[in-house]
Amino acid sequence: MKLFRTSIVLPLAAAAIAITPAIGSDIPIGTYEGGGRACTGRLSITAKTLSWHTSFSRCDRLPYDFANLGDNKGVITYLFHLKHSQPGCLYRSVELHRRTASDGATTWEAVGYLTREDQEAKRLDQALACPVVH
């Protein structure tokens, strides 16, 4: 996995991270490719913006608030709240899931929620869930 750390790990910084462990740490910079009926396209994450092109939605270089929601049963969830809407972009929150299997194999999934409320409630029936390769 390509990780981008926003701060040099120093004792002082580590203390700060301990207070706010999620925000701004370990942003999974890179590109993730999806395919199929709904997911054909690419999720591109830079240090400052997120672009996600899929079959029926197009989000271009949108700034985000980032949080690492941590590891739950082998799945790390990275959360991107997009700072503003954009014509043609259906999603306001994007989760990127990194799953590590017991044999060490890693798979990725991108999930787009229409609203922040949908993301908070994990309303998958209102979301696009795409397997992606990194």
Binding site: G35, S55, F56
Partner: protein, 236 residues
């Protein structure tokens, strides 16, 4: 392997060889495929309907969802009906020539974010894409006797058809003397019978991996190769 697929994608699908959960939707898929094959096979035999292959639909589920660890596997394993996808609207707002029963249409209108409903919608959409249709005037079975209509000044076949819940084709069939562009006159008496225009299936394109890639998939250039790869590692 020379198929242009990414190693990570193939490694993921290869897990189906050891992880039995990749077969967890088999019962759902088989049930849906059997239901369509039985119903359409009986009703539409004359249109050349060929039975759907369960393995092809399973390959589509694997390709679309990415397998049992994914969220899509538990919600929309055939990835139809996602936000912005016009496919479901196309399926539910058009006449399908009998591919959807009224009951199934009602069920899908409630939502397609469960594996069972999503597989039903995905298979129905695939079938709709594979069917060739014509529009046909169908008499209303409840109106056996029909009626006689007197033409008034300013009438034409279209206004008469609309006013009497029938079709121009039905009027021409019942009144051969008005066919071939001949004019109707005020005071003329025409036979009429209630009828509607319906979409009828006249033929089918064979559903192959190439067809699914072209008509179900939206833009994935490797879709056929993915389906072929799934089929190559799937038990017969």
């Amino acid at each position: 392997m020379g198929n242009g697929l990414s190693q990570q994608w193939m490694d993921t699908v290869d897990r189906s060889q050891t992880d039995k959960r990749w077969n967890d939707l088999d019962t759902n898929i088989k049930s849906v495929v059997d239901e369509f094959n039985t119903r359409l096979g009986a009703r539409l035999r004359t249109s050349g309907f060929k039975k759907l292959d369960f393995r092809l639909i399973k390959a589509m589920v694997w390709t679309e969802s990415g397998g049992p660890d994914s969220s899509a596997w538990k919600t929309r394993p055939m990835q139809i009906g996602n936000p912005g996808d016009p496919g479901l609207h196309e399926l539910l707002s058009n006449e399908t020539g009998g591919i959807l029963t009224p009951e199934l249409k009602k069920e899908l209108q409630k939502g397609v974010a469960t594996p069972d409903s999503n597989i039903k919608a995905g298979v129905a959409f695939l079938l709709m894409r594979a069917a060739t249709f014509v529009w046909e005037s169908v008499p209303d079975p409840s109106d056996v006797k029909g009626s006689v209509v007197e033409v008034k000044g300013g009438d034409n076949l279209d206004t008469i058809a609309k006013a009497h819940s029938t079709t121009i084709e039905m009027l021409k069939t019942l009144n051969p003397e008005i066919g071939n562009g001949k004019l109707i006159k005020a005071g003329q008496r025409l036979k009429s019978r209630r009828a509607q225009i319906h979409r009828k299936i006249t033929g089918w394109v064979e559903i192959t991996t190439e067809f699914a890639a072209r008509r179900y998939n939206v833009g994935d250039p490797k879709y056929k190769q993915k389906l072929d790869y799934c089929l190559s590692i799937m038990p017969p």
